[in-house]
């Protein structure tokens, strides 16, 4: 046990505390001086002051009533049918300010009342230990013991064992029944709509992209053709995996390993961050970096979108591209890797 020193019993080992011999008749500790004398407030002694406080309190309550009227008026003044932003703002302010007066008036009035007019004599209540008396504890223990005894559970181990087993596995259905909350992942985390021959179309216009449209320093956000709200696919789910970008680099800037999938300096990459799946949509033209706004993972386009900063580990997978007879960009295969965040089975 730590020694709890009621003021200076063993001061010796403390540097900075003088060693003081305790003279006879000097107590161990200081005495609690007790509650200070009550000081009356102005309203306690001056009838005028009390009357003033009463008026102030009532004024706040009246203000509250005014606020309620204002709220209701504000509600009916602005109909919000085909509202403009200013009308919405005005309606919001009027109703809100009215409500503020309604509530604040009651609140401040009540607190002011308590502070100025209600008695402010401090009162003392004794505390009692939370712990029960030994007798109560003994009684409680006996009651429990009697209960266990009367149930006979100690004498009938078969009941205890079988009940224990039943209770132990009883929660299993709760887990099993949740199984149907979703299908198994299968390979859906790895597959996207990108495949050889799928055209790249712009998001959101859905226009196909000509190689010549993309000039140095611009970024094109693309989706696989055919992915629309009305299409047979799970729209947002497929989009969350397939969203990609196309950027033009100087041909010499395209990394060696990215060349086969590039087309005349044009490179396409998944824009779903390999860290947590945000959209890697911030493009720095001068450095040819892609930056994810969520956690700042930075990918270098000149290094085949390798991670050069931030919490992502894997490079953004490349989308191999070429052009069709009409000069439109199309995929020449699926993504070079798994888009989006890592998971256990990714390998």
């Amino acid at each position: 046990m730590t020694q709890i020193v009621p003021g200076g019993a063993s001061h010796d080992e403390f540097p900075g505390n003088d060693v003081v011999p305790r003279p006879a008749g000097v107590p161990d500790r200081f005495e609690n001086p007790g509650l200070p004398e009550h000081r009356p407030r102005l309203a306690d002694i001056d009838r005028k002051a009390a009357r003033r406080a009463e008026l102030q309190v009532s004024l706040f309550f009246v203000l509250s009533s005014a606020g309620t009227v204002l709220t209701i008026v504000g509600y009916f003044v602005f109909k919000l049918d085909g509202a403009s932003a200013t009308e919405l703002e005005a309606s919001n302010f009027l109703i809100g300010f009215g409500l503020f007066l309604t509530l604040f008036g009651i609140g401040v009035g009540a607190v002011h009342w308590a502070k100025t007019l209600m008695p402010d004599h401090e009162m003392i209540e004794e505390r009692h230990a939370v712990e029960s008396t030994p007798q109560t504890k003994a009684d409680a223990a006996e009651i429990i013991a009697d209960g266990i005894d009367e149930s006979g559970i100690r004498r009938r181990p078969l009941i205890l064992a079988s009940l224990g087993g039943a209770l132990a596995i009883a929660p299993l259905p709760a887990i099993v029944l949740l199984k149907d909350t979703g299908p198994n992942p299968g390979d859906s985390l790895r597959t996207t709509l990108w495949a050889n021959g799928v055209r790249l179309v712009q998001d959101p216009t859905r226009n196909p992209v000509r190689a010549s449209d993309i000039v140095l320093g611009s970024i094109f956000h693309v989706l696989p053709e055919g992915l629309t709200v009305e299409s047979e696919y799970d729209y947002l789910e497929e989009k969350a995996k397939a969203a990609a970008i196309v950027i033009r680099l100087e041909v010499s800037e395209v990394a060696e390993e990215a060349r086969p999938g590039s087309y005349a300096g044009l490179v396409a990459y998944s824009k779903i961050c390999t860290h947590m799946g945000c959209s890697v949509a911030l493009y720095e033209q001068t450095t040819q970096h892609l930056l994810c706004p969520c956690h700042q993972s930075t990918f270098d386009l000149r290094q085949n979108c390798k991670v050069i900063f931030g919490p992502a580990k894997r490079a953004l997978p490349q989308l191999p591209i070429g052009v069709d007879d009409e000069g439109y960009l199309l995929a020449t295969g699926g993504l070079a890797g798994t888009p989006g965040p890592s998971f256990w089975e990714l390998g």
């Binding site: 046990m1 730590t2 020694q3 020193v5 009621p6 003021g7 200076g8 403390f14 003088d18 003081v20 000097v26 200081f30 609690n32 509650l35 200070p36 919000l80 509202a83 309606s91 919001n92 302010f93 109703i95 809100g96 300010f97 309604t102 509530l103 609140g107 308590a114 209600m118 401090e122 009162m123 209540e125 505390r127 230990a129 939370v130 909350t181 979703g182 299908p183 992942p185 859906s188 998001d203 709200v229 799970d234 729209y235 947002l236 989009k239 860290h275 947590m276 799946g277 945000c278 959209s279 949509a281 969520c294 991670v307 919490p311 894997r314 989006g340 965040p341 890592s342 256990w344 390998g347």
Partner: protein, 576 residues
């Protein structure tokens, strides 16, 4: 009624006229024993201090959340099904959006008072979490979590954790671009869980992200499951406050065995009840004047677009900051499987550890200090220097993580490199918290020493004398008793002594293997403790200065060294 009862009926004593109130009181009493309840609790005493309002703010914002939330449920449609928006907000017309997004925009633009309710709900949520955490800090720094209140501390910590989850669930429901991005991150965190991660993600989202199942499921969790659990915990929290009676700050008349303050009826009914209206009123004013989460500007969730400076609500900021701080090499392959340490550590392990430490702290301190007594008098933070140091250390750690959650904003606002900020915060996270501990502890010890000085030497009066011998003195007045009491009332602690291996009879003591650790921990807590002044010390201090008693008019005198000090004091009286 003036007629007397006929003789045939049993006479009912009707000494006084019964008012409606009397009748209602009787009704309640004969059915639920109301008189006993009133007698037992209506005049309950609560101590007064501004810091006790922090918990009240949290409680009241929770009530406001329930009220405004009910209104929102009348209009909100928890469905991820896509519809073409055709409401009042022009720029969105014709766009394919989820029903939950469309209905949230409708609440804002087409329902009168709807925007106000949304903004009240959102502001109240931010304030709820903030008040919870500040309240927790108050409880920590004043030692209010000590026996017998450890369990209530645990309940509070769970409430804080649930509040964060509940808030996240709430701001995810509108299914706007920002909140959808947050859910994308949540799904990535689930995916990172070893072995079962991808399965769990598919169960939670009902298939691939985002799916159409999650929004309705989240809705049930947000409006039913979590609020019900929180309400139960809050009820238990308040029940324990009543059972234990409120703690109080030390002061004259306040002891560990009493509560000094004002009665529930009428003072606290008016003050606390009124304060609810004040909190509600202020939140209404905020909602009326300060825009929050204008989802119509963000647009519906779409996995492809994103806005720069994507930020979660403030209470998720520390987690986001931790995630941003991680280096990518924490992800690696083991036996053909992928382990994403850079996600698991900040998003699951760190919050788990922090919560665990918080929950365990009362017992950690008890174990280290060996103090298992009941405490109802609060500590002044300076009188628990090690605890205060640890608390500030924790807060520093938290704040660095939180600041890094806004590293992109800091970078653009102050024109700094985001990479540098991230590197600096990584270093800060390791260096600053221990530094904060040492500095805080030193400040506390310094304040304690100053308290001792004030008690031993009293107040400087500014009256300076010169003795015949040429010695210069300033008269000091002893502190008034009430003022002194605050500085000497606390217990002093000394570390555990190393017990000898054998007892008085030469028999080996039954030690535990943790004795050494315990001693070191105890030294850590109390090794450089400053003890409160004792009456003996004060008497001795007076005796030392007693030679000048006659001059000091009963006060104590304190020799000052140089004449420069004399020159500085205003009222210089050299020939007393």
């Amino acid at each position: 009624m003036t007629t007397t009862a006929p003789a045939s009926r049993p006479a009912v004593p009707r000494a006084t006229k019964r008012t409606t109130v009397d009748k209602l009181a009787d009704f309640a009493d004969s059915r639920i024993g109301a008189a006993q309840i009133v007698k037992g609790s209506a005049r309950k005493i609560f101590p007064d201090h501004w810091s006790f309002m922090l918990g009240e703010v949290a409680l009241y914002s929770f009530v406001i959340l329930l009220l405004s939330g009910v209104f929102l449920t009348f209009f909100y449609i928890p469905s991820a099904g896509l519809v073409q928006y055709d409401g009042a907000y022009e720029p969105l017309r014709g766009q394919w959006v989820s029903e939950s997004y469309a209905s949230t925009v409708d609440i804002s633009w087409d329902v009168r008072g709807g925007l106000l309710m949304r903004q009240i709900h959102h502001w109240a949520a931010l304030i709820f979490v903030a008040a919870t955490i500040v309240h927790m800090a108050r409880v920590f720094f004043t030692g209010a979590f000590r026996k017998p209140r450890e369990l209530n501390w645990v309940i509070g910590a769970l409430l804080a954790l649930l509040a964060v989850f509940e808030g996240f669930a709430g701001y995810s429901l509108p299914d706007d671009l920002l909140s959808g991005t947050g859910l994308r991150i949540a799904s990535a965190i689930i995916l990172a869980i070893p072995i079962i991660g991808s399965y769990m993600s598919f169960w939670v989202f009902g298939g691939q992200f985002p799916g159409e199942s999650f929004i309705p499921r989240l809705y049930t969790i947000h409006v039913l499951l979590l609020p019900a659990i929180m309400l139960a915990l809050i009820a238990a929290h308040l029940f324990l406050v009543v059972l234990h009676k409120h703690t109080q700050y030390p002061g004259p008349g306040r002891t560990n065995k009493n509560v000094v303050g004002y009665p529930l009826l009428p003072v606290y009914a008016a003050k606390a009840g009124g304060f609810f209206f004040i909190v509600f009123g202020v939140i209404a004013l905020m909602a009326a004047t300060m825009q929050i989460n204008p989802i119509w500007l963000y647009g519906p969730y779409d996995p492809s677009p994103i806005t720069a400076g994507s930020q979660p609500d403030w209470y998720m900021g520390f987690l986001d900051g931790a995630v941003r701080m991680m280096p990518g090499w924490l992800e690696f392959q083991i036996g053909g499987y992928t382990l994403s340490g850079q996600t698991l550590i900040p998003a699951l392990i760190l919050p788990g550890l922090l919560t665990g430490l918080l929950v365990m702290y009362p017992w950690i301190e008890q174990w280290a200090t060996g103090d298992r007594r009941e405490h109802h008098l609060l500590d002044r933070p300076r009188n628990a220097p090690t605890r205060t140091g640890l608390g500030v250390m924790g807060l520093t750690f938290y704040c660095i993580l939180w600041a890094n959650g806004g590293n992109d904003i800091i970078a653009t606002e102050f024109n700094l490199s985001i990479n540098d900020i991230t590197w600096f915060t990584r270093i800060f996270l390791i260096v600053l918290p221990p530094l904060a501990f040492v500095i805080t502890k030193r400040i506390c010890l310094g304040l304690q020493r100053r308290d001792r000085e004030r008690v031993l030497h009293g107040k400087e009066t500014g009256e300076v004398f010169r003795l015949e011998s040429g010695e210069t003195l300033e008269r000091h007045e002893p502190l008034p008793e009430a003022e002194r009491w605050l500085l000497v009332q606390h217990d002093g602690y000394t570390p555990i002594e190393a017990a000898s291996a054998t007892d008085a009879n030469g028999v080996r003591r039954p030690g535990t293997p943790f004795d050494g650790v315990k001693r070191r921990l105890s030294r850590f807590y109390f090794g450089d403790a400053v003890l409160p002044v004792t009456p003996a010390e004060l008497a001795a201090a007076h005796a030392v200065q007693g030679g000048h008693e006659a001059i000091g008019n009963g006060g104590t005198d304190h020799a000052i060294s140089g004449s420069a000090d004399v020159a500085r004091t205003g009222a210089t009286r050299l020939d007393h």
